[in-house]
């Protein structure tokens, strides 16, 4: 009897969260999937079953072989940017977290320094991204500086409106999402294990590879999930820093929405969701987060 009451009370307490989750996440997801199978014309959605959203998206994929069709090219480009960003944020994030967790002695300083890292987030994401433009432009600060120092004669064009600029901005914006979970995992590592490794004669590198990285895996995976899901769907940063010339999965959805082709946008959204879920499940197969946490 007590057990029933307790579980009923538990359900009640979980109910608000479940309600919000259901109403604002599951329901819209179901709607988007339904709409993706509707027909459409110039300006409205027609609630008739039609896979036109999907077939239009994949048009030319067989016909244009061996050339890739738009959607494949776009996803390859997005995956490439995602991988580059993930790799760089992992490297930088891991290093920063390692420094914070193991080289900073006092707990106060650890907290102060990690809070310092959050200060850039007090301004809008978009502003921090756009701030790169006057820096990297043809007549921007970096080019002026390099020309003034006599290192180059012509301004470097590839600094802005290129993949370099996109990856730079993405890494700048999202490294912190890697730092925090990895830092979290690292401070939970029992320091005695490191002592034991040292006593057993392990070099610094061996300790890193055999003890710290495996134990920080949950943090790495969580940080990776953050970065990968954000970059896969990003179109603002890739758009602005790429001069609107670099394709991204999110951009297709935005372009279809602008043309009022909602079912096509929904179809692309479902495809994007599917691919992102595949990447994330592959990641969680490497590390089972639930077991480790």
């Amino acid at each position: 009897m007590v057990q029933d009451r307790k579980s009923f009370a538990a359900w009640l307490q979980a109910a608000p969260m479940m309600l919000i989750f259901g109403l604002f996440f599951l329901l819209p997801l179901v709607f988007v999937t339904i709409v993706s199978a509707w027909d459409y014309n110039e300006y409205e959605m027609l609630p008739a079953f039609s896979l036109r959203g999907y077939t239009d998206t994949f048009e030319g994929c067989i016909a244009e072989l061996p050339d890739l069709c738009t959607i494949l090219k776009t996803y390859l480009k997005t995956l490439k940017l995602c991988l580059l960003t993930w790799g760089l944020t992992l490297l930088i994030g891991f290093t920063v977290a390692y420094f914070l967790a193991f080289h900073v002695r006092s707990k106060t300083w650890q907290i102060v320094l990690s809070l310092l890292c959050t200060i850039p987030f007090w301004t809008s994401n978009v502003i921090r991204m756009i701030a790169w433009i006057p820096l990297l432009g043809r007549n921007g600060l970096v080019n002026k500086g390099l020309q003034g120092a006599g290192l180059i004669q012509q301004p470097l064009e590839w600094l802005l409106f290129s993949e370099f600029a996109v990856v730079l901005a993405l890494v700048h914006l999202f490294t912190f999402f890697m730092v925090v979970p990895i830092f979290n995992s690292m401070i939970r590592i029992d320091k005695r294990l490191i002592e034991a490794a040292y006593d057993a004669g392990a070099t610094g590198w061996q300790t890193l590879v055999n003890i710290i990285i495996p134990l920080a895996k949950p943090g790495i995976v969580i940080g990776s999930i953050f970065v990968i899901t954000i970059v896969m769907g990003d179109f603002v940063t890739i758009g602005v820093m790429g001069g609107q010339q670099i394709a991204s999965a999110g951009k297709i959805i935005e372009a279809r929405l602008n043309a009022l082709q909602f079912p096509a946008a929904a179809a692309n959204a479902v495809i994007l969701l599917g691919i992102t879920i595949m990447i994330i499940s592959a990641l969680t197969r490497v590390v089972d987060i639930r077991k480790e946490l």
Binding site: E42, E59, T74, F161, G243, N258, A259, L260
Partner: protein, 430 residues
């Protein structure tokens, strides 16, 4: 002992939280929380004006408030978002300022309300460029694309079909229009530019830009392709699938070769690209050229031998508008056509739909510079007061007749629009 006290603390904290939640719920329910605005019946006249950044002017709204007592609240978004809002949120705006080419999408949706031309005082004075497709002196102008006179009239008050003959139900009351061309930085180009094909000239590799709004960008692309001599279109504003493929193929090759520095969608982006020297030749809108000039940077809205791409915009109301709001909307539109606003827009480089009232609000020198292509007698000032041109300068392109007479096509939504948007996406993704 310590265990039970910890237990006690837990219970107490929980109890406090529960109590607080209950108290807030009680307060909200019983109306103890007040302060919600009380809507008085004598409300001030407010119109929500949905449009792009290009026509939104602080001075216009201030003068409107002073002259008519109507407060204009601007809702400023990009061209595509304006159309999206009309289709999906017709209750979120009152007055709509949009281009004629969007009507092919907006009218069938039934979300806008045709205005009665009989209630517009200056309707008969509206320039025949809109109503008949000819200049005031009778010369016919280019009709390729979604020309305004093709979509100006509706068959009935609630009809969704365009009428080929004039009726009293007007889709958009015309307000402004212009002939657009490429903007250039003459100080960085240093030679005369006279053709649309210069946009693809490898001399400007990495320094060109084109507009990223499919309906308008495709017209610029068509002008460029026709200028290079590779194809002559039957109707640039209504291309066949094969013509669309050809146009996009040429543009994609240029893009892959690195011709374009960036694309722009918002008018401020175009100003920044030109002013910072990132681009030296690009699609541009007249007020952007004015703005770059008022920053002290040389910029020319270059007349080209193949002609201009023209556009026109006007006002209508949302279908949700009725009663007193509809009267205020008519009052606002009538005020807009009565001269002050028209003169303001003329000074930005646009043309007002009713030329006679705008003329009455401009000095003879300004009229001579902006409309007649004469050399300026004194300095010409931008609408915000900064000096645009010194005495003796002539307007790029010349007189009204020269520029509007040189119109080759209008912004368009073509029959193959769906296909065109997909191809445009491929172009962006390439």
């Amino acid at each position: 002992m310590s265990k039970s006290s910890k237990y006690n603390n837990g219970i107490n904290r929980r109890a406090v939280l529960k109590g607080a939640a209950g108290a807030v719920g009680l307060a909200a329910g019983s109306g103890a929380i007040t302060g919600f605005p009380y809507v008085h019946s004598a409300e001030p006249k407010v119109l929500r004006y949905l449009g792009t950044a290009v026509n939104a002017g602080d001075e216009i709204s201030k003068k409107c408030l002073a002259d008519t007592g109507i407060k204009i609240e601007y809702i400023t978004v990009t061209t595509d978002d304006v159309t999206k809002r009309v289709i999906t949120q017709p209750n979120s705006f009152d007055v709509l300022d949009t281009e004629y080419f969007s009507l092919k999408k907006l009218v069938p949706s039934g979300n806008i309300f045709a205005l009665d031309s009989k209630k517009i005082k200056q309707f008969d004075n509206i320039t025949p460029v809109f109503t008949k497709g000819q200049l005031p002196n009778g010369k016919k102008i280019g009709a390729q694309g979604t020309a305004p006179w093709k979509v100006l009239y509706l068959e009935g008050a609630n009809s969704k079909k365009f009428s080929t003959t004039p009726t009293e139900f007007v889709t958009l009351i015309p307000t402004v229009y212009n002939a657009d061309t490429l903007g250039i930085r003459p100080d960085l180009i240093k030679r005369p530019i006279s053709s649309w094909s210069e946009l693809l000239n490898p001399e400007f590799k990495g320094k060109a830009s084109i507009l990223n709004i499919p309906s308008i960008g495709i017209m610029d692309a068509a002008m460029v392709v026709e200028a290079t001599g590779q194809h002559k279109y039957v109707d640039k504003g209504n291309m066949t699938k094969a013509e669309i493929d050809l146009t996009m193929k040429i543009m994609t090759e240029a893009k892959k070769a690195g011709q374009f520095r960036a694309f722009w969608k918002d008018f401020n982006e175009s100003v920044n690209l030109m002013a910072s020297g990132e681009t030296v030749i690009q699609s541009m809108w007249s007020p952007a050229v004015t703005k770059v000039r008022s920053m002290g940077i040389a910029c020319t809205f270059q007349p080209l031998k193949e002609g201009y791409r023209s556009w026109a915009s006007g006002f209508c109301v949302s279908k949700a508008v009725s009663g007193p709001k509809l009267d205020w909307a008519y009052e606002f539109v009538n005020w807009y056509l009565s001269g002050w606003a028209g003169a303001y827009l003329n000074r930005q480089g646009y043309y007002s739909a009713v030329l006679s009232t705008a003329k009455a609000n401009m000095t003879a020198d300004e009229w001579g510079y902006w409309m007649e292509g004469k050399a300026a007698v004194g300095d010409i000032k931008a609408p915000d007061g900064t000096i645009l041109e010194k005495a003796g300068a002539k307007r790029d392109g010349g007189s009204y007749e020269d520029r509007m007479g040189g119109v080759a096509c209008w912004n368009a939504v073509m029959d193959e629009n769906d296909y065109m948007v997909r191809k445009w996406n491929e172009f962006i993704a390439a």
